[in-house]
């Protein structure tokens, strides 16, 4: 039975990867035609490298997690390819770096699968993960190695290497949360008080929520990283809610967040400015609102079908290769392309949650849900920020934006989801 399922899943994966590679190579060709009116000279080698990288990940999956889900890797590969095409179209120098980071990311994917043969192995290092997570979060604040870029102190500079430890912190903390909450879920879920129809846990059990809230506020204030702060807090509250099955945590968490955000908007200029340009970017169309206004122009110009790859003017948007890459894709592929990106993320989220539901062990279940929530919420925060559904908070679009730390971290996250899905298949077999 299992070999049949394995073969089916892996062959599906291979087929989808080939499809994604064709889409990527096609877009790459069109973008080159659009910008220079020439066929890309390196289309052969390019397609070769794309295929080699994804095939490498595929072969590794075949060997290391043969029964795992077959859709995750092609979806990530498609987003990665899509992002690469637009980075190459916007800035060829960054594209060369992104290609290297893709290779590093896929290597990290393979290494993670090797290092974590069973997801439950992670459960053992709960407090190590906690310490590592907190360290990663706070490292940028250490004088000498911390670095401020574009106003946010979220970078580490070690010699020639620089990276954003926060990208890894989110994974490490998800593992810690899963481990901690699975152990405490009964306790945290116990009903103490009742407020109307809502069962309230005992007040002291809100301690961890307050701790996480405080930590995320600290990150927001000290590192000026609104996006990560929001992501961490949302991750923790969602995992707490899933683990305890108590809606009250979600509600209280939401209220705390709203209060914190309101206070921050009152107390800090840079937060209030974000809110102001969210509500009305047109009032500051030439300064603070410039980026949002230009992104809106880009998306509007794209219309339904887009200008065609390489034929728009997304380079007018500041930081278009990282935070605003979605606007570039939306301009040149139109609503069809931007909606396709949304659908791809929804498929990733759907697949991840399906893995969570199929998981037997509570730790695996909670971890899969948490990791999936990271992907889904992070993409929502930045896309919503770019199109003004929520205030703009700089954060990368997973797998798509330029950025080494983000890409490598997200491939590690993907490997963990793959690992959990492989565990699911194996435990299904044991159950038979």
């Amino acid at each position: 039975m299992i070999p049949v399922v394995q073969r089916l899943r892996r062959n599906t994966e291979l087929g989808l990867i080939l499809l994604g590679a064709v889409v990527t190579a096609g877009l790459y060709t069109l973008a080159s035609l659009g910008t220079t009116a020439n066929l890309p000279v390196n289309i052969g080698p390019f397609l070769g490298v794309v295929l080699a990288l994804l095939a490498g990940a595929h072969v590794a999956t075949r060997r290391l997690a043969p029964a795992s889900d077959g859709v995750l890797l092609p979806l990530a590969g498609l987003l990665n390819g899509l992002g690469y095409v637009w980075i190459a179209r916007l800035d060829p120098d960054l594209a060369a770096l992104q290609a290297v980071w893709t290779a590093v990311g896929i290597t990290a994917y393979v290494v993670t699968l090797v290092l974590v043969p069973k997801a439950r192995d992670l459960d053992r290092y709960r407090y190590t993960f906690m310490l590592v997570g907190i360290a990663l979060l706070l490292l940028p604040l250490v004088p000498g190695i911390g670095k401020t870029v574009n106003g946010a102190r979220i970078w580490l500079q070690l010699g020639p290497l620089s990276f954003q430890p926060g990208e890894f912190a989110k994974i490490v903390l998800a593992v810690f949360f899963a481990s901690y909450l699975v152990e405490k879920r009964e306790l945290l879920g116990m009903a103490g008080n009742r407020l109307g129809p809502v069962m309230l846990p005992e007040l002291r059990h809100f301690g961890p929520v307050l701790l996480a809230w405080g930590a995320s506020l600290l990150v927001m204030i000290s590192e000026r990283d609104l996006g990560s702060s929001l992501l961490f807090f949302a991750l923790f509250v969602v995992m707490l809610w899933v683990a305890t099955e108590r809606l009250s945590y979600l509600l209280v968490g939401g209220l705390l967040f709203a209060g914190g955000a309101l206070a921050a908007a009152t107390a800090f200029d840079h937060v209030r400015q974000r809110v102001d340009i969210w509500l009305d970017p047109w009032a500051a169309a030439t300064d603070q609102g410039f980026q949002l206004v230009q992104a809106t122009f880009a998306l509007a110009w794209g219309g339904i079908a887009g200008t065609g790859p390489g034929l728009g003017n997304p380079d007018r948007i500041p930081l278009v290769e990282t935070d605003f890459i979605f606007a570039a894709i939306g301009e040149e592929l139109g609503l069809l392309g931007s909606a396709a990106v949304l659908v791809t993320f929804l498929l990733l989220v759907g697949t991840g949650l399906r893995i969570a539901i199929a998981a037997q062990a509570p730790f695996n279940k909670l971890l899969a849900a948490g990791l999936t929530a990271i992907l889904g919420i992070q993409a929502f925060i930045i896309i919503g920020g770019v199109i003004r559904v929520v205030p703009l908070t700089g954060i990368t679009l997973p797998f798509v934006s330029y950025g080494g730390s983000s890409l490598v971290a997200n491939y590690v996250l993907l490997a963990l989801l793959i690992r959990i899905s492989a565990d699911n298949a194996e435990s299904e077999l044991e159950a038979r």
């Binding site: 899933v242 509007a300 219309g303 003017n313 949304l342 539901i357 929530a373 199109i387 559904v389």
Partner: protein, 485 residues
């Protein structure tokens, strides 16, 4: 936990649905609003980077073309003839907008007019369709106009009186439209600032956007008014031979140039450009007759030329001349209450030449698409019915006299009967505008011309005949050669 995970999925679905709704708002519902937003430069970039047709002289010389460059705009507009056609082609500038043919024929150049797209394949794969605009102006006539005028401020306008085709439209100073059209906005702005700093105002198309006192060339209109009214013929009245005319209601006499004495019937007084006689004619005709005739020729109405923003040549309204015969007398000799563009005076000459029918002036001859098919041809049409053919014939004879033995002898094209009228519009500071209008061949006119040389020293009636006539003669000769029957 599964229930919460499913709800998490639903929650995600709701969040992404919100994103999808907002995308529809931005990319579809409100897209047009954003595209038209003044801060949005995409439409400008599109217009500047899309292929654009050429502007060609009548002989096929390329006057404007787009060449590929390495910039977001992809194309750069350039004008190989430089300043020679600047006031005709205009420019195509990111920061200063467009002017001239570039503006009036923008849609044709960009290929947005003309035939429908023939099949879907053409829509998907075909080259973008652009239009080439061919002008009525031959390069060598324009060049003769430029060389003849030389470095003097002034204008030369030549028309084909039969269909209104412009054969020369030159004014000095001019400018280089290529530097203004630079897609490097800073360089373009710098060039524009430099041109704007020039007190001679090279950007001004003096031929059709600046008005001047027409001086004695306006006597053609006064004579036409007299002949058309029937109160003036070639034999009567015979104006008294005098050196001064004192209009009613003033003691200030109008004198002839140099204090000369003149008089006689219409052909005589036109030949020597007799101020005293024409002033009296104007007063005798009355304001209504004179102003109406001027308006019949196109005064007080912008010529419908296919160039942007042509100036109106103004003459005061009838009521303003009531109880003000001195001004009426001055106006009848082209001073004081009347001003004209060089184009309007060329239209006066062309109207007389064409039997009284003033044709709509135009610079476009035809538009071809990028495969050479004609998509638009100029249809000649009448603008004003100025005078009856018999009045035009009488006036033509009188104007031939001016060239044969009057003030405009230097206008005569050898071997070709030529009609004309000089003018010297005094500016009151010892300077005067030297004018001439004329057409040839007088018996079957093919070219009408108007020339003004501004602010020349001296104030004798000879100034127009000496300074402007040779320029007009050179242009007439060149245009006759280039515009055969």
């Amino acid at each position: 936990m599964n229930r919460q995970i499913r709800r998490l999925g639903i929650g995600m679905l709701v969040l992404y649905a919100a994103l999808f709704v907002q995308l529809n708002v931005i990319q579809v519902l409100r897209a047009e609003t954003y595209n038209d937003h003044p801060e949005n430069t995409r439409a400008v970039i599109r217009d500047f980077s899309r292929p654009r047709g050429q502007i060609l002289a009548a002989d096929g010389t390329v006057l404007a073309r787009s060449v590929p460059i390495d910039s977001p705009f992809k194309l750069q507009r350039e004008y190989p003839e430089g300043e020679l056609f600047a006031h005709v082609t205009g420019y195509f500038s990111l920061n200063a907008g467009t002017d001239g043919v570039e503006r009036t024929y923008n849609d044709a150049l960009a290929g947005r007019t003309g035939e429908r797209i023939e099949d879907i394949g053409e829509l998907l794969l075909g080259e973008p369709r652009t239009g080439d605009v061919s002008l009525t102006i031959p390069t060598d006539v324009q060049r003769v106009a430029r060389d003849a005028l030389g470095g003097k401020r002034g204008s030369v306008v030549a028309l084909d009186p039969r269909d209104g085709a412009v054969l020369a439209l030159w004014s000095f100073p001019s400018y280089d439209p290529t530097v203004l059209s630079n897609v490097d906005i800073e360089a373009a702005q710098e060039a524009r600032d430099r041109i704007l700093a020039d007190e001679a105002n090279p950007l001004l198309a003096r031929t059709y956007r600046e008005t001047f006192f027409p001086g004695s060339t306006f006597k053609v209109v006064t004579a036409a008014a007299g002949l058309a009214s029937g109160s003036v013929t070639t034999t009567s009245p015979v104006y008294p031979t005098s050196n001064a005319y004192v209009p009613p209601l003033t003691s200030q006499p109008i004198r002839n140039f140099g204090g000369g004495t003149c008089g006689g019937a219409l052909p005589d007084i036109l030949r020597v450009s007799c101020n005293t006689a024409f002033a009296q004619m104007g007063v005798d005709l009355g304001a209504e007759t004179l102003v109406t005739k001027a308006e019949d020729f196109g005064f007080n109405d912008a010529p419908p030329i296919d160039l942007p923003a042509p100036a109106v040549s103004p003459i005061d309204d009838v009521a303003s001349f009531q109880q003000n015969t001195p001004v009426l007398a001055m106006t009848a000799i082209g001073q004081n209450a009347v001003r004209s563009t060089p184009l309007q005076m060329a239209l006066v000459a062309a109207g007389v030449a064409n039997g009284g029918d003033v044709m709509v002036p135009h610079v476009m001859r035809e538009v071809r698409d990028n495969e050479g098919r004609v998509v638009e041809t100029w249809e000649p049409r009448s603008w004003k019915r100025a005078i009856r053919p018999d009045v035009a014939a009488t006036l033509t004879d009188a104007m031939r006299g001016v060239v044969e033995e009057g003030t405009a002898t230097r206008l005569a094209v050898p071997g070709v009967p030529t009609a004309g009228k000089t003018g010297t519009a005094q500016l009151g500071n010892g300077l005067s505008h030297a004018w001439i209008v004329g057409f040839a061949p007088a018996d079957a006119p093919r070219v009408a011309v108007a020339v003004i040389v501004e602010a020349q020293p001296g104030a004798s009636e000879q100034t127009g005949g000496q300074v402007a006539a040779p320029i007009a003669q050179a242009v007439l000769s060149a245009a006759l050669a280039a515009n055969p029957e």
